[in-house]
């Protein structure tokens, strides 16, 4: 049996070696990247790299073993298979262990491969990064450049399982980014800007340059605010990061293992009725759009919260079996066993621009950047505390810049305290969209 694709053939060949009683999954991939960094008009580094990997999962009598290697070299493949088999004996028996099985859900095709990018000349990639550096420098005399970058990557993956799943796909993409420094006397502040595309012709270099300069210069002269309870308006970029923090709490596996504060709350109000949150990797506007999940099942649209009410949890085939339900196509590969995660979170937008939302706030803060979400937020307890910087809001107008403060609440409360959602949707290069979001009654800690 030949698929006409070398990678799929390789995955098929591995799986064909399964012995009676063994369930086997092979996940093979290869890819490459170009990374160009410009500094002061010259190429600082140029990285051109190829990589490949194989992961083999073996399940026998309810026990799972896994092994991987960063090469598709034939001599290593047999070692990997042998290791995975050897590892089986050390796993506990788990009655729900197993591979995904074809579920008849049709894939929503996505256009993830761009021929233009695949053949884009290297010299032009360098020129784009140089142009971005130049444009950014020209925005403001206080601006210096930390680095200007062009990056692209392509990847090709193939799955095969003894349960009959076969999936093959390839994807490429590119982005540019620029880091800035703005000086005023002894003070230095930083900013960044970026633009993402399926091909470099989709870049908006002007916007990336402006945003990189704005982010740095607007913080010059910022002071540390007094501590108080206040209303915050999150910039779209911050909203997207906030949504990502919530992602794990929708995982059915986390619910089953007692790690989600949403457990036992299906059908209940968990957020302000303004909030409708979906996970939809089939939306081609989403940066992380995909046609398959981490087990090779069709990716699909799942409503998580509808008008404030918790509607469902997400499942891989493992958590679905355990919870006697169906996979929602939400498996992700983080290590050996597939985990469960949101793939492309989307908060359904409201109406109004950021200015219109701010006009409704008599006393508050526009949060433009956050720092330390990984260290100050506990998605299990829901405790939320993050470093931030932004602009004070007084009587519906933005004013002086502030920095070196934190905002704190709990995730549970913040969902209930959402009072307005903007219509200013931004499809950011992460697995959540963003728009302006107004949340009441958070604690700002400063001087």
């Amino acid at each position: 049996m030949s698929s006409g694709n070398a990678l799929q053939d390789l995955a098929d060949r591995i799986v064909a070696q399964a012995k009676p009683g063994e369930q086997v999954e092979a996940y093979v991939s290869r890819g490459g990247e170009t990374s160009i960094r410009i500094y002061e008009g010259e190429v600082e580094h140029f990285v051109s790299a190829q990589s490949e990997s194989v992961g083999i999962r073996v399940i026998k009598d309810g026990r799972t073993g896994y092994a991987y290697a960063g090469t598709l070299d034939e001599s290593v493949l047999s070692e990997v298979f042998a290791e995975a088999r050897d590892n089986v004996q050390f796993g506990s028996v788990d009655e729900w262990a197993g591979l995904a099985e074809p579920d008849g859900v049709a894939k929503v095709p996505q256009e993830l491969w761009n021929e233009e990018l695949a053949h884009f000349p290297t010299a032009e990639k360098i020129a784009i990064a140089k142009e971005l550096e130049k444009l950014t420098l020209a925005t403001d005399p206080r601006i210096r450049i930390d680095d200007a970058n062009y990056d692209d990557a392509y990847g090709e993956t193939a799955f095969a399982t003894t349960s009959g799943i076969r999936a093959h796909g390839r994807e490429n993409g590119c982005y540019v980014s620029v880091g800035t420094l703005a000086d005023d006397g002894d003070e230095t502040q930083t900013g960044f800007g970026f633009s993402v595309g399926r091909t470099p012709t989709e870049f908006n270099l002007g916007r990336a340059a402006r945003e990189a300069a704005d982010r740095a210069t607007r913080l010059l002269g910022a002071t540390k605010p007094q501590s108080k309870r206040t209303t915050i308006v999150l910039d779209p970029y911050v909203t997207a990061q906030f949504l990502r923090v919530l992602s794990g709490s929708f995982s059915g596996e986390n619910v089953q293992k007692g790690r989600s504060f949403f457990a036992e709350r299906l059908g209940e109000s968990v957020a302000n009725p303004l909030v409708t949150l979906i996970d939809d990797p089939t939306n081609p506007l989403a940066y992380s759009a995909t046609d398959i999940d981490g087990e090779g099942l069709a990716a699909r649209r799942n409503v998580l919260i509808e008008n404030g009410v918790l509607k469902q949890f997400l499942h891989s085939s493992y958590s679905a079996r355990r919870g006697q339900t169906r996979s929602t196509g939400s498996a992700v590969r983080t290590g050996g066993t597939p985990g469960v995660s949101c793939l492309a979170m989307q908060l359904v937008p409201g109406t109004g621009t950021q200015e219109e939302l701010i006009a409704q706030v008599s006393d508050g803060v526009l949060i433009q950047m956050v720092q330390g979400l990984h260290s100050g937020v506990n998605p299990i307890s829901g405790d939320f505390s993050t470093g931030a910087s932004g602009l004070l809001i007084t009587n519906g107008q933005v004013g002086a810049p502030i920095r070196e403060f934190t905002i704190a609440s709990t995730l549970q409360r913040m969902l209930q305290d959402v009072v307005a959602i903007g219509g200013d949707v931004d499809w950011l290069p992460m697995s959540a969209n963003g728009m302006s979001l107004v949340i009441n009654d958070v604690t700002m800690s400063g001087a």
Binding site: N87, S227, T406
Partner: protein, 469 residues
């Protein structure tokens, strides 16, 4: 497991280095890595799986003027390596130069770590048993413990570095790690506890440390926090327990002392060598030679021996940390801080084990001298903006200090401060130095193992990001 110099011969390496310089580049380097790792995880009472991994390949770096070209390959045959060298050479400079030859001397195998029991020679059953012991120990602490996850990991990383300036060195880096996280549930919701241990040694880690004790500690942390009240909001004195606050220095000044960031003017510490940048109590060291510590290395990932470097002495900034490129550019000596995550990454300036040495105060006296404040027993991660100096770090186990005594537990939150200000605000330093938990430091998308440490200390004012007035 054959050594790397058996796998790739010296003659091949010389050819590759020569090929790297063939387009006229002044410098070429090959970094070969063969890393085997084993991990095992327990969650929800089950051993989920044992995983073994193998990553093997070479990264080739070519420097032409100010431009670095880099290519990597998983193909360690001479043909594969020469192809990667050519790609790196072309990346550094389009066009062709002359024929170059490179000759290397004998290999330098510098070791600082003493490994007793190679983890890949230990039966997997023994690794899995550790997880089960940790699970039982954590669950036996209290009925409120509802979930335990434990992880075991080891890696044997063999590296070989050679460059056109004659560096030819190898190191074996063996690391062993164990971690436990616990969820406890009570009337007020769920709370978590976490602890980990890791050294650059082999399986003898478990002769030196007790997994039950580690697990029990993580469980007690989670259970204690069930009764925690919201952390304060605003500026207060903060006492940080020994061995838990090294991340403070890592973020408040460590990154800002990396010469690549300094060189680009992206550090608040630029141009400050010889100046007072911290309280005179503070002497800060970065030491890659501390045998067995998590950030210890025989050679860095550019083949330079690890070193003990004094960064701040009695409050005065003495030097930055350096890698090959930055040292060459500024005519400075290298300091053994050129590190990379793997053969697929370019090296850059990174910390190793970063710590503040002992002061003279008794730790109990530091608490007694603090009327009202916060006592942090366990810090989480952190991050810093090196240009502005603003940094945050999380407190995962903290208590209120009232009238000079440690009282009630607090819920989690971030602390925020400005590096140079916080360094000046350290007003008491204990005599009870300890190294902290194994860490992974992220910079520019690369993670490397780092250690940190400090004695109990007080910062006279830090902003605590809680919700209580």
């Amino acid at each position: 497991m054959s050594t790397l110099s058996e796998l790739v011969g010296k003659e091949t390496i010389e050819k590759v280095l020569a090929k790297g310089r063939s387009t006229g580049a002044g410098f070429s380097e090959i970094f070969i890595e063969d890393k085997r790792s084993t991990s095992a995880g327990l969650d929800d009472g089950r051993i989920e799986q044992v995983t073994t991994g193998r990553d093997r390949g070479a990264g080739i770096r070519v420097v032409h003027g100010e431009t670095t070209g880099f290519a990597h390959t998983a193909d360690l045959s001479e043909a594969g390596l020469l192809q990667a060298a050519e790609a790196a050479a072309v990346a550094a400079k389009q066009g062709s130069g002359g024929v170059v030859t490179v000759a290397l001397g004998g290999i330098d195998t510098h070791q600082v770590n003493d490994v007793q029991i190679l983890p890949n020679e230990v039966p997997k059953t023994r690794k899995v048993e550790l997880l089960e012991r940790a699970n039982e120990a954590a669950r036996s602490i209290d009925k409120a413990v509802v979930q335990v996850s434990a992880g075991y990991g080891d890696s044997v990383r063999r590296i070989l570095v050679a460059n056109s300036e004659g560096v030819f060195a190898a190191d074996d880096q063996v690391r062993t790690l164990f971690r436990v996280s616990v969820v406890a549930s009570g009337d007020g919701g769920m709370q978590t506890g976490y602890d980990s241990m890791g050294r650059t040694i082999g399986f003898e880690l478990f002769d030196l440390y007790d997994v039950e004790e580690l697990a029990a500690g993580a469980a007690r942390q989670a259970v204690t926090k069930l009764k925690a009240r919201p952390a304060p909001s605003g500026a207060l004195p903060v006492v940080i327990k020994r061995g838990s606050g090294g991340v403070l220095f890592h973020e408040a000044c460590g990154h800002g002392l990396e010469a690549d960031l300094v060189g680009k003017g992206a550090s608040v510490y630029r141009g400050k060598v010889g100046e007072m940048v911290a309280s005179s109590l503070v002497t800060l060291i970065d030491d890659g030679t501390m045998s067995g510590e998590w950030g210890a290395i025989g050679i860095d990932d550019e083949g330079h021996h690890s070193q003990k470097n004094t960064l701040i002495e009695n409050g005065v900034l003495t030097d930055y940390m350096w890698d090959y490129l930055r040292a060459r550019k500024e005519n400075h000596r290298q300091s053994g801080n050129g590190r990379r995550q793997s053969y697929m990454h370019l090296p850059m300036v990174r910390m190793t084990n970063t710590f503040v040495i002992n002061g003279t105060s008794e730790p109990d006296d530091i608490v007694k001298a603090t009327k009202n404040g916060v006592y942090v027993a366990k810090l989480g991660g952190g991050s810093v903006n090196t240009a502005s100096g603003d940094f945050v770090f999380g407190m995962t186990e903290a208590y209120l200090i009232e009238n000079g005594e440690i009282t009630e537990p607090l819920r989690e939150g971030n602390l925020i401060g400005n590096g140079p200000q916080v360094l000046r605000d350290i007003d008491l330093l204990g005599n009870d130095f300890a190294m902290g938990n194994p860490g992974t430091c992220g910079k520019d998308g690369q993670g490397v193992p780092v250690g940190d440490g400090q004695p109990t200390l007080r910062v006279k004012s830090l902003t605590i990001g809680g919700t209580a007035a």
